[in-house]
């Protein structure tokens, strides 16, 4: 790729020529022009200052078109020498919306070092996010084992007759667990929604894995999970986050279903939609939006409810998707998850 300096120099040179041509035209038209009757037709004749030379209209036309051509060429050259910056802006936007990792391509020798520095910065940023995420994960997991020990001590205190103290410990342990789960899921999704390059995940893979898992976890319930998910349905969400959203929704369905859960997927040009229906008691329609409302903080929700849905709600919105609740054909709950494709 030619260097920026060469291009700018060429552009400036062509512009100079263009300006000379324009000056020539102006001089022709305004410095001493005479309207002359020539064999019944009027033509512009100019006696160039200080000389006797006569210039005709053909000369004027040639000069004007030459000037226009040179102006256009100059503009094109300058535009072209600035093009790498526009290109860079577009690539940077792609990095921001997550479809690119770094800024690819070759740039003029004056711009390339800048691009390299920017890529190094992006790399650093990604490494920092990965490190921070690993630290958040370690912190979360490191806290849970001590919490488990505390919870067992609470149970022992209860057996020993100190149920008041046991209850307080249990409640606080539960609160801490919720805080950890919620913020860990949040940290992961914030990091991946922003930094994951062009990730796409197959809906069917997640649904099948989760179905296998839930069949095991709820083995004693004898539930039937019907899935109707086309293998060509993909969404622009990281696998872990898709698993987390669908896992929480399916787990919820398994908890409340009597015997049957149905998972279906649809896809349009803009969005992939997964619908999870159960045949449980469902929710009162007035509650459909209430349980998903913002401001209902996950860690303040009642034990055993809400946290899963709050995680799904927040993850979906981080990806510019949405979750809505309704009534399933069997009278249970219908959860509808919409995600970008």
């Amino acid at each position: 790729m030619a260097s920026l300096r060469t291009r700018l120099f060429l552009g400036a040179f062509v512009w100079m020529l263009a300006m000379a041509a324009v000056a020539n035209v102006i001089a022709f038209l305004f410095v001493g022009p005479v309207l002359h009757n020539y064999a019944g037709r009027y033509i512009i004749v100019n006696r160039v200052t200080g000389g006797n030379e006569v210039r005709h209209i053909q000369h004027l036309l040639a000069m004007t078109s030459g000037a226009l051509l040179l102006v256009a060429a100059g503009l094109w050259l300058i535009r072209k020498s600035l093009a790498p910056f526009n290109e860079m802006r577009n690539r940077l936007a792609a990095v921001r919306d997550g479809s690119e990792h770094t800024i690819p391509g070759n740039y003029p020798s004056e711009v390339q070092p800048l691009v390299n520095d920017l890529n190094a910065l992006l790399d650093d940023r990604e490494r920092a996010i990965t490190r921070a995420l690993a630290t958040a994960g370690d912190l979360a997991h490191g806290l849970k084992t001590p919490l488990a020990i505390l919870a067992q001590e609470a149970e022992r205190a209860k057996v020993a007759g100190d149920s008041e103290r046991a209850t307080i410990i249990e409640q606080q342990v539960e609160r801490m667990r919720r805080q950890i789960d919620y913020h860990l899921a949040h940290a992961r999704a914030t990091a991946s929604a922003g930094a994951a390059p062009g990730v796409r995940s197959q809906v069917a893979t997640s649904v099948e894995g989760l179905t296998r898992t839930l069949q095991r976890l709820y083995a004693d319930r004898g539930l039937t999970i019907d899935t109707d998910v086309a293998p060509e349905h993909y969404v622009r969400v990281k696998r872990e986050d898709l698993d987390e959203m669908l896992g929480n929704l399916l787990d919820n369905a398994c908890k409340y279903a009597q015997s049957r859960i149905t998972v279906t997927s649809r896809q349009s040009e803009l969005a992939g939609i997964v619908i999870i229906d159960d045949d449980g008691p469902g929710l009162d329609p007035s509650m459909h939006t209430a349980v998903l409302q913002r401001g209902v903080r996950a860690d303040e929700a009642a034990p055993g409810s809400g946290l899963g849905l709050a995680i799904v709600r927040d993850l979906a919105s981080l990806y510019n998707g949405s979750i809505t609740l309704g009534t399933s054909p069997a009278g249970g709950l219908r959860a509808r998850l919409e995600l970008p494709v």
Binding site: G142, A148, L150, A151, T213, D243, E244
Partner: protein, 218 residues
């Protein structure tokens, strides 16, 4: 019933071991992956409680290795890693159940009972043999509806035989499943337990198969 607890945090390991022992299980503990691997090689466990973040060999690698080697004991993963992606991984590697920390001991015990029951192909928590009913959930034994008081060792012997009804269980196998690893074993005591059990639940229920061991008819 013999359980292996693989957990690197000593306090939690102790709590689990004591709750399991109270529930009538023989318990071995391993605090790292290598030790767990050794124990699984030499012992036949009725269930394994497995933490994932372990020193030396991590839990998932361990489980994958066991399953590839054909180890069929039910495994319950008990871990701090609670995301759904991690749960799917755990189940796909060969776990039978997955409980996230912190947990309720009752829940772990209930899930363990269900795993052992399913592994022995029985879906009802009550095991029945003629007038004898053993409720694994409540650790309760009744004959003709009258409850029978058993010591924990007696209960373990009866429960193991009931879970493997119709099969001859050798004395060595019984010993292995009722005592913890480091316990001083003595196969003579099995005879003592069988004799006491016969007195308590009726003489005809436990058959002696000469030279091979004991059996409860299915």
């Amino acid at each position: 019933m013999r359980i292996l607890v693989v957990e690197d945090e000593a306090a939690l390991s102790r709590q689990l071991a004591s709750a399991l022992a109270d529930a009538g299980y023989a318990v071995d503990c391993a605090t790292d992956g290598e030790r767990a691997d050794e124990l699984v090689e030499i012992e036949q466990y009725d269930a394994i409680i497995l933490d994932l973040g372990l020193p030396k060999i991590d839990g998932l690698t361990l489980l994958r290795r066991w399953r590839e080697a054909g180890m069929s004991s039910p495994v319950l993963i008990l871990t701090a890693r609670a995301s759904w992606h991690e749960k799917v991984q755990g189940i796909d590697v060969g776990a039978d159940d997955y409980v996230a920390k912190p947990f309720r001991m009752e829940e772990v015990l209930a899930r363990l009972r269900a795993l052992i029951r399913r592994a022995s192909g029985q879906l009802n928590p009550e095991l029945r043999c003629g007038p004898l009913v053993l409720d694994a959930r409540l650790s309760k034994v009744t004959v003709d509806g009258n409850s029978v008081r058993l010591t924990s060792h007696e209960f373990r012997v009866l429960s193991y035989l009931m879970h493997h009804r119709g099969r001859v269980v050798s004395q060595a196998e019984l010993t292995e499943h009722i005592y913890a690893q480091d316990f001083n074993r003595d196969s003579n005591t099995v005879e003592v337990f069988i004799a006491r059990l016969r007195r308590k639940v009726g003489a005809g229920i436990i058959e002696t198969v000469r030279g091979l061991g004991y059996r409860i008819a299915s």
